[in-house]
Amino acid sequence: MEIMVKIKNVHKWFGKNHVLQGVNFEIKKEETVVICGPSGSGKSTFIRTFNGLEPIQKGEIMVCGYNVNVKNKKTIHKLRGEVGLVFQHFNLFPHLNVLDNITLALRKTKHMKKNDAEEIAYKFLNRVKLAEKAKSYPSSLSGGQRQRAAIIRGLAMNPKLMLFDEPTSALDPELIGDVLTLMEELSNEGMTMVVITHELGFAEHVADRVVFFNEGKIIEEGETKKMIHNPDNARTREFMGQICLK
């Protein structure tokens, strides 16, 4: 299988804070990988290096065939058009309605005509049952609707890789289901996905692999069931135990 992401010995410092301490990681096409770990462990910073949002000081990042650490703006913009990133707090554009939120990048990054872009947008809006909200502003949507809108904003770009940074952490418990269902569908359709989440139920269902992050390093990774129920590392076991208790 084609390798979508290959990361070698990545280091990053925020001032004196060594947030990524030599991380190696790989993901194949159509794989779904869940990353978990305590807050502040660097997992969020880590996936933000995939599309160059966080520059690194040392190491190598290849994503979808692009060398991310090369400071070539054109390459980075092209890469970003092929990698979707979904944030914890949705980050929709509040001054644009849902339709324009989705079509802006189609028109500006992919240089599509307005009609073509809107056709694609409606295809995805229908899929997540938000078509009647197309002309609504994000502020009038529920959290779950906002996150689904944010996800299809990324999907509409026809990405090769989708990154999710705690997509359900900011949602009320009863709104999480719709978002997880959508992500599960995507995974089943063969989307390559990296998901930071503590929803172990989702992970067990969907992930091919689980990666455990601690203090800027991947300290254990492996097959999902083993990682959740019977990890080798003591720190991993402690963390998984605490999450399962919740």
Partner: protein, 215 residues
């Protein structure tokens, strides 16, 4: 009291006051947006050069700037400027410095996550600036801009010193005709008040309108 002709003179002065303030505000705001984006830049050189611009025009009295332009340009460049042009240049530069700071803080008030999600969609800096940041910054900038406009209208009275016959200068003309100081200045103060109060009311109206639209 004032006769009809004198009243008309004061109205003419009012019109010029409005003209110079609104013109200065329009051009000053456009320059201010650009300087504001430079002020919000992460590049320290761009940031500091734009700060120097702001400090030059904000930290010297408008009246001195008017004198420098009015008397300085002919000496330096053998280039005579009318009181109107002088007032326009000085007001524009003065307002642009204040508006730059208004826009700078409006731009910085927009969450970094807006930049991040825009960059993540492959959008370029010019597109993000024009389509994402500017529209949101303009909304935030409305209330403080109204304040700057009111300031500009009152400060435009300083242009009377170089012979620009706006409302304050005109009130001197009328006073010379009537020999009644107190009445004229009270009426002129009322004129200024009405204009500024009207602008302030429009500002509050706009603020509510924007606030209701979306947050």
């Amino acid at each position: 009291m004032l006769n009809f002709n004198q009243f008309i003179l004061l109205l003419k002065g009012t019109l010029l006051t409005l003209e110079i303030s609104v013109l200065g505000m329009l051009v000053g705001a456009i320059i201010g947006v650009i300087i504001g984006f430079l002020r919000a830049s992460k590049n320290p050189i761009i940031k500091n050069i734009s700060l120097i611009y702001v400090e030059i025009f904000r930290s010297s009295p408008l009246m001195i700037q008017l004198f420098i332009i009015y008397y300085g340009l002919p000496i330096l460049f053998h280039f005579n400027v009318s009181p109107f042009v002088t007032a326009f240049i000085a007001m524009t530069l003065y307002i642009s410095a204040y508006m730059a700071e208004v826009f700078k803080s409006s731009i910085e008030a927009i969450s970094i996550t807006q930049w991040e999600s825009a960059y993540s969609l492959g959008l370029t800096y010019p597109v993000i600036t024009m389509q994402i940041i500017l529209p949101q910054a303009l909304k935030i900038a409305v209330p403080p801009s109204i304040g700057v406009l009111i300031l500009a209208i009152k400060d435009s009275s300083l242009a009377s010193v170089i012979g620009f016959t706006e409302l304050t200068r005109m009130s001197n003309v009328v006073r010379a005709q009537t020999f009644t100081t107190y009445n004229v200045y009270a009426i002129v103060a009322l004129f200024y008040f009405v204009i500024c109060y009207a602008i302030s009311s429009i500002g509050i109206f706009l603020e509510n309108k924007i606030g209701n639209n979306n947050t």
